[in-house]
């Protein structure tokens, strides 16, 4: 089934198997491998994207459900070679270890700071509760979120 959607501001089309997830379509059909595939059940958050501006797990969206809709992936955050303030903060704070969870955390953090520019630690904890870091690098991730908030 052919779907047509906007990804990071540009129109794209893909032929999808009817049962496949938006995550699979993004990574395997549409050339956006930034969103990571891990748990495939909404537990880990490494596939977090914005669907019509709302933070979702791309593994839990049927690709066909995104037909005619607007998706922002981690690839859409940077402005050319200039990293998004959240991405730069993750680099500067040393919040990246193996890096697998980073795209999801960056998207979730960008979403948080758009809604809550100066979040408390509890608000950060709540907003990122659906993103797991298997390296358990949460302290540095918190530093990165606070840094990004202070710069944006």
């Amino acid at each position: 089934m052919r779907i047509s959607l906007t990804i990071n501001g540009e129109q794209h089309q893909a032929d999808c198997w009817e049962g496949e997830s938006l995550l699979f379509a993004l990574r395997e059909k549409l050339g956006f491998p930034g969103s990571k595939n891990a748990c495939e059940q909404g537990e880990c958050g490494s596939c977090s994207v914005l669907l019509d501006g709302t933070l979702v797990c791309a593994c839990l969206v049927l690709a066909v459900q995104a037909d005619g809709h607007d998706v922002t992936t981690v690839e859409g955050l940077a402005d050319g070679d200039t990293l998004h303030v959240v991405q730069q903060a993750f680099v500067d704070a040393g919040a990246v270890q193996c890096g697998f969870c980073t795209p999801g955390l960056v998207v979730a953090t960008a979403d948080l700071l758009k809604r809550v520019p100066s979040p408390t630690d509890d608000e950060i904890r709540e907003a990122l509760s659906g993103n797991l870091c298997r390296c358990t690098g949460y302290a540095k991730i918190f530093d990165a979120v606070r840094l990004a908030a202070s710069l944006s």
Binding site: E18, G19, G42, V56, C57, C59, L60, L62, Q65, A127
Partner: protein, 260 residues
């Protein structure tokens, strides 16, 4: 496999009558897990995302109509959190922000899991489930809608279209036990309200939702009564004994909160 995407409720009901074995998919937080893990291959998926009639909520003659496509995030952040505080508290404990942005109360009802977080607060508020088909509409009290573990009274051509209830405005609360405050399936959960009478319902402690009531002056024995009404099992998340004990403790705590 085929995906059908109706744009109106009428169209959705017609498609459901032609494809009674179709799986409705709204937020996808349960259905996509089944698909991703190859636990089911329906011939037809009915994508309800584009059916506007299923979205949002409205007031009708003092009653509330919650569309089956109402998300946990909408309950948690909107005006509903003041009208249905226990349901809002329950919604806040569901999954993560990503899950709450997609998951819906219609999905929670359709899945009919004993651990469904929305079920205890809805039952305490006397909710009825609106089911629709091309044959017409009917409303089923929530306690009768769920007929067993992951089973319900929905006919094969019916869709869950809404939940109806009249807010009690009684002091009420929801509590849930799990290893974390996020991303957990309840080891046990509890909703309690204290209006004209004490009302309680629990999750993960019986195959079907159970409503426990008592006069207000029997608060002292209410924790015992709630724990005794449960029929929990031993499973990967907890034991029968722990769940019954936890319900006793949670009910006592909840009463302190709602009777304060």
């Amino acid at each position: 496999m085929d995906v059908l995407t109706p744009h109106t409720l009428d169209e959705a009901l017609r498609l459901m009558s032609h494809h009674p074995d179709a799986w409705p998919i709204q937020g996808g937080t349960d259905v996509m897990v089944s698909l991703n893990f190859d636990q089911g291959r329906p011939a037809v998926l009915l994508n309800l995302n584009e059916v506007a009639e299923l979205r949002g909520w409205s007031r009708e003659n003092g009653a509330l109509r919650l569309g089956s496509g109402l998300t946990y995030a909408e309950i948690e952040h909107g005006e509903l959190k003041d009208v249905l505080p226990a349901l809002a508290e329950a919604s806040r404990t569901v999954g993560s922000p990503q899950i709450r942005n997609r998951g819906t109360i219609g999905g929670n009802l359709g899945t009919s899991s004993p651990a469904g977080d929305a079920l205890p607060p809805l039952l305490v508020e006397g909710a009825e489930v609106e089911c629709a088909s091309v044959r017409g509409l009917r409303r089923i009290p929530l306690g009768d809608f769920v007929t067993g573990v992951k089973r319900n009274a929905l006919e094969e051509d019916e869709l869950i279209t809404a939940v109806w209830l009249t807010p009690s405005n009684a002091p009420q609360t929801f509590m849930k036990i799990g290893p974390r405050n996020a991303m957990v399936i309840a080891v046990v959960s509890l909703a309690v309200s204290a209006g004209d009478e004490l009302r309680a319902s629990f999750g993960s402690a019986s195959p079907r939702p159970v409503l426990v009531t008592a006069p207000r002056d029997e608060a002292a024995s209410f924790p015992e009564r709630v724990a005794a009404a449960a029929s929990p099992i031993d499973d990967v998340r907890g034991t029968e004994r722990y769940r019954r004990h936890a319900l006793h403790v949670l009910t006592a705590r909840a009463l302190k909160r709602v009777l304060a």
